[in-house]
Amino acid sequence: MTNEACNDMAKIWKNQPTARVNISLEQLRRKAGKLQSRVLWRNLREYAAGALVIGTFGYMAWTIPPLLPRLGCALLIAGTFYILATLHKRGASAVVPAEMAFQTCIDFHRSELERQRDLLRSAWSWYLLPLVPGMTVFLVGLLVFTLQQPNAKAHASVIIAAFAFIAIFCAMVFLGIDRLNRWAARKLQDEIERLDVLTKES
């Protein structure tokens, strides 16, 4: 009965009515063009966001008097450049349609999972870490500058506590993001290991 059920279902499956999608070659060319301009706009949006961050910290580095926060701004700008360059590199390594045919489904699936896993695992080093030195120097610089103001000594403990709170909050957010990414990467690794079993002969 199992073979019969399978054959019956295959017959029904193949005889089901389907609405044939008729796409002309002209439509395909237009769609490919649209896709390219969508990628271009996405890249431009990323660069515009980067330019905004660089512009804002550049303006601050230029206008604020104390040296340490200015140095922090410069480091944040450098960190943003590094993130943009990494984004650009990763965007350039996007999947080309022909690669989908050169790879079997399991290889393609595996490489996609590996790409996502590596992205998640390395997010700490290319997305978060480049901003840490700049933020640290910026915050310390602001703290020193604030403590140098008249009457600041009277409220020193409150000022230090406020800055410590901000620093701990930022660190917790960064660590939280990293933990979540690593957890997701571990789940992907489990999936990859399950796929490896399937490629081996049973």
Partner: protein
Amino acid sequence: METESAIRTSRQDELYQEAAASHGSALERLVRGYEADPDRCRDLSQEIHLALWQSLARFDRRCSLRTWVYRVAHNVAASHVIRDHRRNSRTLVGLETVEVQAVVEDREQMLDQRQAIERLLQLIQQLKPLDRQVILSRLEDMDAASIAEITGISPGNVATKIHRIKNILARRFYEGGIHDERSLQ
């Protein structure tokens, strides 16, 4: 140089037209196995046709056109499922763990095509991408060797999965399928 590029484009167009004519209907059925929503189904179908057309610029006959078409289609569709899965956190299951409820139904009822297709789609759409690829290929009457070539799963594992699929279909669509399945083991 320009002539060479024009020849390549015309060859790519011809191959696409050949692929669409031979496998167009099968691709539509494949899309239904990956996406339930009719609007998104149409989008996925267009995405597959676009990727197929683009990929054929580099078709080098290292495999048959059929294998090429199915690899591109399944890989585009699997990426769609993974994207969707990340957005909705829907849990996908494997053939080994899929819940199979025996449905009391006779063969005439089972042959009510629309109902049978709907139930089959419900089953397929809860599976992980690779298991979908195997069941969809089997429903297109492909043998274990062809499925192994497309998916990359070893032929032995494909055979195991096909055996499981047959059992699932029997239990799900036939009255008393459980007894028949036991008698086969």
